[in-house]
Structures are given as C-alpha cells and as structure tokens.
C-alpha cells in the first residue's frame, strides 16, 4: 500500500451515495480508482462532462473526450456534456457535493494555496478558485511536507491563496484534520505517527479531537489488494 493510495482511500470515505464529485490533478485523481461499486457516484470534470467513466483502452481513445487534466476518459451511461459556462455554473452554483484537490499550503483558518508560488511566473489558475469557492465540501489531499521538507500545514499561507476559509477536510499521509467554526481539529492519526511527532512537522495550531482515532479505512483496505 503506498501512501498516496491510502490518502485516496481515506478521501473516498467522505463520498456519499449519489454525490457529485470533482477530482483535481495528482493524488485526487487516484480517488476514481477506489470508488465503491455499490454506490452511484458521479464524477464531474470542469471541461464539460458529468459522468466520467474509466480510462479507455488505447483502441477506445476518443480525442473528443478528455478530463480537466487533458487525459482521455470515457463517459458512463447517463452522462451528459455541456459548455464551460454551464459546467462552471454547476461548480459555482453549489451543485458539486465534493471537490478533492491538492494543495501547496493549507492554513489553520481553512485557507488554501494551490495555484501560485511567489517569485515564479503566475500564469495558470484553471478552475481551482471556482472549485474551492463553489463546492459544498472541499477536501484537500496533500503530502504533509514539501519535497524539500518545508512544512505545508501552516498558521497562515505564505503563497497566494486560492480561497479563504473554505477547506472542510485535510487529508495527509499522517493525519486527517477537520475545519469547523474557524478551528482546525485533528481527527485521525496514521498508524506510524504520534501526536508529538505530528506537532513538530505542523506549524498550524490545531485542537486534538477528544475522539482522536486511527486513520479510518473502514474495512476498505481490501480495495488496495489489486494495487
């Protein structure tokens, strides 16, 4: 089991039957692989498709069906296509139940930064700001620290933010935090992590939930068997 798959499976626990879900690029993309087959979950891609199906075989590829990562996908039964303004009306109008995105930084106040790094060219934002501002529930999946070891879970974002106070849940390889009434709450801790170790790599101030538990996989570990 690699940690990215574990985070994706943890994110899947948050998705309810009938939910409309938009998946960002990176770890969020993996979520599609672990969706329970006994639930109706509908994947939305902002370039104009509700009902994204599995990746096509090489022979099945149709260059007219791609996802927001510009990768070929398929359409499920009951799927529909629409223009960009209609697609973003869905996102911005609050019709997407869950958006799962990566992040460069997340702050204790629920701010997220995931589109720009100071000092580098700021030439791309895509649909990130729309998704964070519009989705009913914003779940961030990200590695707890940057590749160079810099902390990413901070008191305040130092990179330009994507939106203010809108993260609902943060899933890293070490922990799960919930954001509620302006507070950041540690809910779950990975097997290999301790509270004191976590504190060291997490500048953000957070409350430890009285119900703090182990990383919840809820019996879905078997989903990993095929990987």
């Amino acid at each position: 089991m690699n940690f990215k798959q574990k985070m994706a499976i943890r994110a899947v626990q948050e998705i309810k039957n009938g939910n409309i879900v938009n998946l960002g690029i990176g770890i969020p993309t993996l979520v599609a692989d672990f969706l329970p087959k006994d639930k109706n979950i509908f994947l939305h891609t902002e370039n104009g498709l509700l009902g994204v199906g599995p990746t096509p075989s090489k022979e099945e590829v149709d260059s007219d069906i791609i996802n927001a990562g510009k990768l070929p996908v398929t359409a499920q039964e009951g799927a529909s296509y629409f223009s960009s303004s209609e697609s973003f009306a869905m996102i911005r109008g609050g019709h997407i139940d869950v958006a799962i995105l990566g992040a460069l930084q997340v702050a204790e106040n629920g701010d997220i930064a995931n589109w720009a790094i100071p000092g580098k060219d700021i030439l791309g934002v895509g649909g990130a700001m729309d998704l964070v501002a519009g989705a009913r529930k914003v779940i961030v999946t990200t590695q707890h620290c940057a590749k160079n070891g810099d902390p990413k879970i901070l008191r305040r974002c130092t990179f330009p933010i994507t939106a203010k106070n809108l993260v609902s849940l943060l899933i890293t390889e070490y922990a799960v935090f919930r954001f509620e009434n302006g507070k950041m709450i540690l809910e779950e801790l990975a097997e290999e992590m301790t509270e004191s170790e976590l504190k060291k790599i997490t500048p953000a101030e957070y409350i430890v939930s009285p119900n703090l538990s182990k990383y919840q996989m809820n019996g879905t570990e078997h989903l990993l068997e095929n990987y």
Partner: protein, 222 residues
C-alpha cells in the same frame, strides 16, 4: 444568406488589433484549421481570449504566438505552453489571468447583454486585487465585467446551412459561449449538413449566433 465561405475568406475578417476568442480546452474543441490559416494571414497586435495558448512546439495557438501576432492573452492556464511563459518573461506577451469559471461567465455575459456580475470566485485572492467587491447575503463577491470579442473562431461537430450547431462531447467547452459573445462568429464544422438534419434537440447553438461557416475535419490531437 449563404454563410459557408472559404477558410481564407473567413480569416480575412480578422483585422489588426482585434480581440479574438478561440475555442478549445487545450487542443480539444480548438478550430485548428482556422488557427492554421490565421497563421498565414498578415494580421498583428491581436488580443486572444482562450483558456490556453495552444501547446508547446507551435501547436494550435502556440504557432500564432511564435509568429508574434499576439500581444495580449486573456485566459486561465498558460503554463502548459512553455513558449507562452517565455514570451511573458521576455516582455513580448501581456497576460490577463482569469479563473476558468470567470472566463466562461464573462464570455456568457458578453453574449447575454450582462454588463458585469458578482462572483465569489477569487474573493480575497491576488486575482481580485484592484477589483471592486461587494458583500451580498453576508458573503464577499467580486465584480467582473463582460468580454466582447470582435471575432470568435469556434469548432463544431455539425453545422447546417443556416448556422445551427452541434458539438462533439467535451469538444464543446468554450465554443458556445464564445459564439454568443463575439460580434462576428466563424465556425469550423467537421460536417456541413442540410437544414433540418439537425433536430431541434441536437441544436446547441442556434443559427442567429453564427455569421460564417467553414469546412473542417475531426482532429485527433489533445
């Protein structure tokens, strides 16, 4: 009332200094034949409204950029074309970065007679700096204004001779919004069919939004 013309004639409607909207999400739904012929047309100082600026190695709009015809780009994601990044760094390209949903909505507004609108997207961020904001029902909204391209170059699956359009799957994307926003809309259609072949249910863009139609073909690039 014949709207079907040659690609060359269609492109000649683009003048120096025009603002042109070009459909597509990456290369999918981009009118690649029109863009190609635009490359042969001696026109400069263009402002391009498009989600991206083509792909590297001069694909799609990337080629027009390398011909130094574009002075400004309005869109949501230019980082996928390293040429665009380089042009910005060299001061040869001005960029107005817009969240993707705001880009689509500004085009939709231009087509629908909406002068401006309030959106929550980008509130409190760098992209809302120097923009008016307003609290509505306790939430912060940013004021954005409509876009009015002079010409739209769009891609359709089918066009009938009146200019009714249907689209293929996710190749629809920005095309309908741009068709409605522009003063002159030029469609590259994979197929041109007789009036009546497109059922009212299939028509996504009614003909009143379309000025000219050129014959294109299906692309396999993305």
């Amino acid at each position: 009332m014949n709207k079907i013309i040659s690609i060359k004639e269609a492109i000649s409607h683009i003048k120096n200094g025009n603002t042109i909207a070009v459909g597509g999400f990456g290369l999918v739904g981009c009118p690649l034949r029109l863009v190609e012929v635009l490359g042969e047309h001696p026109v400069y100082g263009l402002t391009v409204i498009s989600n991206n600026l083509g792909e590297p190695d001069g694909k799609g709009l990337g080629r027009i950029l390398l011909q130094n015809k574009i002075t400004k780009a309005i869109g949501s994601f230019f980082t996928s074309n390293i040429d665009a990044v380089r042009y910005v760094n060299e001061g040869k390209l001005e960029v107005e970065l817009v969240p993707q949903g705001t880009l689509a909505e500004r085009l939709r507004a231009g087509g629908a007679g909406i002068g401006g609108f309030y959106t929550k997207t980008s509130a409190g961020t760098l992209l809302a700096e120097n923009k008016e904001s307003r609290t509505i029902n306790g939430e912060e909204y940013v004021l954005e204004f409509a876009l009015y391209p002079d010409v739209a170059l769009i891609k359709a699956k089918k066009a009938d001779r009146y200019g009714n359009l249907s689209f293929s799957k996710t190749a629809r994307n920005f095309n309908p919004d741009m068709a409605k926003a522009a003063k002159i809309t030029i469609v590259e259609a994979e197929e041109i069919v007789e009036v009546g072949e497109l059922t009212p249910e299939e028509i996504v863009v009614p003909h009143l939004f379309v000025n000219y139609i050129v014959k294109g073909e299906k692309s396999n690039e993305f």
